[in-house]
Symmetry: C2
Subunit: 347 residues, 2 copies
């Protein structure tokens, strides 16, 4: 006898039928699926009992059609092929599930028009809320602004000033101060390696943090700006890093990269030019990054960097959105988490 899980094996096609076999009225069943806590414990038990015997699931489309507010939540990241965002998305996704929501993942793949299209599609999903890490400078601000007016949206990672309910990210200024301070204390003061036209607005704050920290330490800053656009940061770091090294653009032996992905490319450039990176004897260059990218631990040498607080950012932005959804009237808020120095052997 392999004809199914249990006795009651006739297919339940709708809530009406499920109400019949479970001995509860349809409106109560409906209430249960909307929020299991909203029905009496004994009723809940009876429903869940029937649920095990008959495995019925309400029709998603019919369910959301008339609901003013769905349980859908959109998670949008600018570039999923960056494990940093994949990891962030994973954590947020889990937060949503734990809170009883249905998250859906989107990636703009670095393309502004795709970001616009995603928001467009998201609209028709009637989401209860959206957690959005925008592309940054490339984003179409007016589109996002309109979207934020229609849908409760919390921005994370990359800020678009005054858009959305809140912004949750890292304290880029503190990041730069922390790593600059460390580098200065342990060797030559760092030069700064960044993109000339960075995708992410955090980059500007990181540069400013670098400048401030250097001034505070009493050193002259030295910045090299890499040419190139797009999201292929490693390649830009490698190509432009090589160019900078070959043309002697760095005043000291220490290079602080604006982010880990640039640093990863920069390390490749160093290798290809035969420069030994690290702090041990025989090493010619020190390299540091920012973010604690998932792969930073596995470069050669492992990359010294400032760790973003993935968990805090994920949880905080999700929590903020849930609060707003549940009616908490809150003012626009910016929440920045501090980074932590991760000392490895590259600097």
């Amino acid at each position: 006898m392999q004809t199914g899980e249990e006795m009651g094996d006739q297919k339940i096609k709708n809530m009406e039928e499920f109400a019949a076999v479970s001995g509860i009225s349809r409106p109560t069943i409906s209430k249960y699926f909307n929020n299991p806590e909203s029905v009496r414990a004994s009723t809940r038990a009876r429903i869940e009992d029937a649920l095990e015997r008959y495995d019925y699931r309400p029709n998603m489309f019919a369910m959301n059609q008339n609901r003013k507010l769905t349980k859908n939540i959109g998670i949008v990241v600018p570039y999923m092929a960056d494990p940093f965002f994949a990891e962030l998305a994973r954590t947020i996704e889990q937060c949503c599930i734990d809170a009883g929501y249905r998250p859906t993942l989107f990636s703009a793949h670095g393309q502004p028009d795709l970001e616009v299209e995603i928001l467009d599609n998201l609209r028709s999903m009637k989401p209860a809320g959206v957690l959005l890490a925008p592309l940054g400078r490339a984003s179409d601000r007016s589109v996002i602004e309109k979207f934020c007016n229609d849908v409760p949206t919390v921005l994370f990672d990359s800020v678009l000033q005054d858009l959305g309910l809140a912004f949750v990210g890292s304290d880029s200024t503190q990041f730069a101060r922390l790593i600059v301070d460390y580098l200065c204390r342990t060797g030559e003061p760092p030069c700064f390696f960044e993109m000339k036209t960075p995708a992410n607005p955090n980059a500007n704050r990181r540069k400013q943090g670098y400048l401030d920290a250097m001034e505070h330490m009493g050193f002259a800053p030295c910045i090299f700006q890499a040419e190139g656009t797009g999201w292929d940061f490693e390649e830009i770091g490698r190509r432009e890093g090589a160019r900078a090294l070959q043309t002697g653009q760095f005043a000291t032996n220490t290079i602080l990269c604006s982010n880990d992905r640039l640093a990863i490319g920069f390390l490749t450039a160093c290798y290809e030019l035969g420069l030994r990176v690290g702090v041990g004897e025989g090493c010619q260059v020190r390299v540091a990054g920012q973010d604690d990218h998932p792969f930073a631990r596995y470069t050669s040498p492992p990359l010294t960097t400032i760790a973003q607080d993935y968990n805090a950012i994920s949880r905080s932005s999700a929590a903020y959105l849930f609060n707003a959804i549940n009616g908490a009237e809150t003012l626009y808020e910016t929440q920045l988490f501090e980074g932590q120095l991760v000392m490895r052997s590259s600097a």
Copy 2:
């Protein structure tokens, strides 16, 4: 005058109203949205004209409720934080959009129970089809089998024998032959570094390919199996790589890793043990991987590997699914693409 895009600015709330303002009957409008090609060109023009003036979008939920077949397509990968899968997913996503479908992305994040839940949720989405890269050994075969019986599903990357409409992946045996042949011709024959209990069934074929190739070349094989489970391959490669190196498990100076992520960790182990990797003078170890992981280009030294044909796998699996959806009665088919040797400086 900043009150909107055009004259006709009253909000269109449903297809009825849009039919009115566009001067076309509702059933025809419905047909148009189902498939724009299905209406006369002149009618299409009138609809699209009205579409620009009034920006109406049909209600997604009402739309899919009664449709026998939606335009939804599910894309499921085992581990999104692996850029390899992120890249694969991105390409497939684009294929779906280009073909007029609505793809939705899911990641099992390495967790079998999540994979089951995803398939469960996917069901209620009434997808026209699903492109599934299963977890592999950790997958619940019976669950996936049931799912495949209900929903047109094409498996990719990781095969579950005879499940789904088709399997599209890489020719793991050819991969191993290619790289073993190269390594033998250019230096000492390779030892094989793999996981004892690999997540991905391709791993077994890669090992077999290694054994066959070694026998064919007339060399004695040497295999080290790393302990550890899960999807944190880099860490396993680093930890177990170090253990293997320290206890002298390798008969030659050349190590072929079962995949690039293991190799990336292995390179870190080599660095931490002070072993120089590469082919130049002074190098003590050669290391090679398989997959051409997006980061393989940026390790130090850059990793010699066998490149998977991302584009071919994506396009082919998507194309196969579309064919099946459109009614082509096809037999189960396995399509394997060959890899290409990517020579970099690690071996």
